[in-house]
Subunit: 659 residues, 2 copies
Amino acid sequence: MWSRCSFGALRAHTHRYLLTPAFTQTVRFSCGTTTNMGAIGTRTVDTTERLAKLRELLKKPENNVKAFFVPSEDQHFSEYPAHSDERRAFISGFNGSAGCAIITLRDAFLFTDGRYFLQASQQLDSNWKLMKQGLPVEDVPTWQEFLSKHLEQGTRIGIDPTLISAADAESLKKSLEPRGSELVSLQQNPVDIVWGKDRPPCPHNSVFPLDIKYAAGETFQNKLQRLREEITKKNAVASVVTLLDEVAWLFNLRGTDIDFNPVFFAYAVVTPKEAILFMNDAQAQHSIKTFLGSDVEIRPYESFIPSLRQLTTTLGANKEKPMLLGDKTSLAVVEAIGQENAVLIPSPVAAMKAIKNKTEIEGFRKCHIRDGAALIRYFAWLEEQLNGGAELNESQAAAKLEEFRSELDLFRGLSFTTISSTGPNAAVIHYSPDPNDCAIIRKDQIYLCDSGGQYLDGTTDVTRTLHFGTPTDEEKRAFTRVLQGHISIDTAVFPIGTSGVDSFARRALWQEGWGNRYTFITPEYRHGTGHGVGHFLNVHEGPHGIGTRIAYNSTSLKAGMTVSNEPGYYADGRYGIRTESVVIVREAKTPNNFGNGYLCFERVTMCPIQTKLIDFSVLTAQEKEWLNSYHAETLEKVGPLLRNDRRALQWLERECSPV
Amino acid sequence: MWSRCSFGALRAHTHRYLLTPAFTQTVRFSCGTTTNMGAIGTRTVDTTERLAKLRELLKKPENNVKAFFVPSEDQHFSEYPAHSDERRAFISGFNGSAGCAIITLRDAFLFTDGRYFLQASQQLDSNWKLMKQGLPVEDVPTWQEFLSKHLEQGTRIGIDPTLISAADAESLKKSLEPRGSELVSLQQNPVDIVWGKDRPPCPHNSVFPLDIKYAAGETFQNKLQRLREEITKKNAVASVVTLLDEVAWLFNLRGTDIDFNPVFFAYAVVTPKEAILFMNDAQAQHSIKTFLGSDVEIRPYESFIPSLRQLTTTLGANKEKPMLLGDKTSLAVVEAIGQENAVLIPSPVAAMKAIKNKTEIEGFRKCHIRDGAALIRYFAWLEEQLNGGAELNESQAAAKLEEFRSELDLFRGLSFTTISSTGPNAAVIHYSPDPNDCAIIRKDQIYLCDSGGQYLDGTTDVTRTLHFGTPTDEEKRAFTRVLQGHISIDTAVFPIGTSGVDSFARRALWQEGWGNRYTFITPEYRHGTGHGVGHFLNVHEGPHGIGTRIAYNSTSLKAGMTVSNEPGYYADGRYGIRTESVVIVREAKTPNNFGNGYLCFERVTMCPIQTKLIDFSVLTAQEKEWLNSYHAETLEKVGPLLRNDRRALQWLERECSPV
């Protein structure tokens, strides 16, 4: 599953809430539509009163700013800012998944891209001016240009420091310097004050420890030890862990505070001698305290920022012996510690977490076989339904898939909202069907299903594209070119340290004059071929991936990493194709071993690739061989799990027939 | 032809000379051995007296420096410094192709890499300390570290500003700042003063205009007009053209001042109204003056630097309306203009020159067919010789190839020293056989021949690897993996703006655990898969190429560019393999055209690829098809030129038999 706006994101579609400013958690929410804002396209909010109240707050002496900036959650693919979109939706009325707002004492501007021009123009009232981004013909400034060049000289621009990473804030500050403007961290987010008690509360659901032998594979004590070695190596006094999945991984704990992502609200500070976990009192049950024992001190979640200030002093953090912060840490955390006492580096916890241990790898293999069984049962059922003339919409079908998954051992929920999409909807990359208003699945259209589950032993993310009728020649050609890219990645062998495999996924599509999806939509809309996958954690995790992102070039793949292999092709308004499997990076056994060693991929996703959609005129003999071998493996591994579903087993056997 | 040390380089093997300091030409010489310094490995120079004289000069009030730095010509793959190696060879006695020297008032240090440790230790006398670079076990500082950290604080370090690019000087100055040391441009190179009248004179060979209709394809007036548009677009007052091939291209002139590169010593300054060509009086014959007419003012070569100073004033160059300089311009030129009046940018002339016009492209096609005929005649002859038991050394064989080439229409010399190498010598990437001491070509070894010619209608550069006996399985596997990379590049289709095709050349090698040559030797020794090729100009030209260099990522391929396709594999001490053809970048006619358009390659080199060396077990059906189609094309195009060489025609027919 790829999503423009949610690399490493945590998603919450069902229930929506926001944290008080004290909860400066580095977590992001859904790219989907907010359910409390009304359906897309409906103007539900008159923002006059909200804006008036907000402007009064901006003028107050403790703030004294002439503008307030609400950043977009997905800018620069960073994990920041946290919860920003909800605030923007509340204050502007526009609830699309991408956009930022700038409110001055007189005007209000909403910046968004082409995907949301219609929605924004319908949802914004006359208090707002829509700033259409990415249109070369119109001379609309970007929000960066607007802040740095269009606002008056010497403007104090307010920001909520919990909504922006320290790194992004730094570059923003630099761009403001030439005009003498400055970014001012406000004590409390004025949008929150306006919103008041109506803001949804924060969940405090149960937290549970992970089994070491069957799930985690390594004690938290050992992980802490490894982190302490990093702290010593970096000559630091402590490591501050701010990302939810990093805290969960580090302590072998999981939660259910956020849909799709088995995490809970927490922070941690690890020193050479101490490990302090900041979590909600209500969630720190007796069992958790027993599990963590004397190795970890639990402190209240609310005490994090004051504790940070105090720890900075107690530990004597300074330039020579700093606190280690991940490079996505919020401005609020950096300000609490003091920039001079901190060093921002690629998170050492992320680097440790990315490389899966033997138990996690074995779990990945096992849960993908089970997950494959649910998918196969689903596709067999769907085919029968459609052949029988049933009228099923995309959401109803997705619900059936969830039902099949929920019957599986160790299932703990979906890993993201199922993308169940027919025809033109399949071309919408971050599509998810609205249960109340979505398309009927048609036999004469491509059907794309991108879905995944959370299991105690791993996380899955798989896309298969099918046609239940007769595909067109073009659809077959596109499907085959995508498949060739998928196979080219799957079979690649490459030297350790190389970041150049991404073009293997695109070569076949290029032959047709089909840029891989993303490549050409807009310059900033370039996605890669694969993202990291967490182990019973976020379905998207960094720092690695396959693609052209700068981060990927500086973070090469390493043995033990898990990554998706998902080339795609999107014919706007007509159909979309994606073939996605999860692969594990492994050492390659090459005949020679010139250099520092070679890597290859082990596929773990087990679900047939529809041969009906293949244009055999362009497939090579080697590619056919690959397909037959993959199908034989899938049949062998998943077949035994389908003893009680004759329809699914027959479907699997048919789909796995050699070509 | 790839060479570590000569990207864009001009080569001069036969006669060697050096310019006086007034000749601040941006030109580089051979990577080979200097012929006036005695054979490799022989100590011929006692440097005591030279160093004593040099140190006296350093101490003089007009210099007043405590150290003198003679940079290496090949550092950072820049085209700088010019003529530096000869000076270093004179003052140190070491005449290898890579190395730099630092002479202080007390000591003298020579820095070179592993290829030259033996040679340097034999050639340097006791006045010199050899600083072995690239050995991680020994704690030898790099020359940068030496200058910035080992010299006394506050050292004034002398440099000849004609020998270093302004950009390199800038970064060097920055590294010296922390210790308060500084780089001082000396008025005259003290090595030259010590050398005195014994320095070889500069050649002033004839210069001739290029035929517009059959060779240049565009009048120089039109080129000047296009350059003037660039000047206006950049809001500049003039463009200073300092590279020899750029001057030659701009004025449709060619010369023979430098072996292998049909250029002559010249500079140019182009303003919106004027075009001034600085060239030697002796070379500015009547025919040249007639050709250039009133559009170009010719001034003496020696007047360039004084003229620059004067033009800066006359044209009123300043920060807002600067002089445009190519980013490889020497410190001397920048100092003459004044840094505040100049802007260093990627050369606009290089960008124009890189895209070949229709006439040039047609010339490329034609000269490659003729060139192929010479190569085929040579290989057929060589095979017969070896089968007949002849004892031929690498250099004798190369001479025969030159003989065949010299019989061709429009031939104007070789484009570089022929790399004629047997067995282990083929693994030495910048090998060129010493006529007095080189290996006998053996039937039981790989033979690698990398060569090219200069023709009035184009420049060639081709490598073929052959075996005249029975190759080993490993040799065949390596040859085939290289060939697969070559085919993968040749058949690639890619979107305009993409720089990710390089890994296509490496994929097949990686499958074997064989990093492409260069990839793993040392981190800085990473070369690409292809370099730009001039049109009856330097065989290496920028700014484009295929590879992982940063420059290539910022300069994407464009239709009309010429580039080599030369993956290789090098088994150190045993054999080397390279298959190189020149290709023209063309618009691809793809079934679809999603995005901004697609590019592909048109191969123009016409010479068989030895099928005897192919391991057919790994070749795909598509690759066999490619090979047969290439051979059919080669036979059809070159066959008719071999009417008078029955042996060559038979060889060609045999080598082009379908597989």
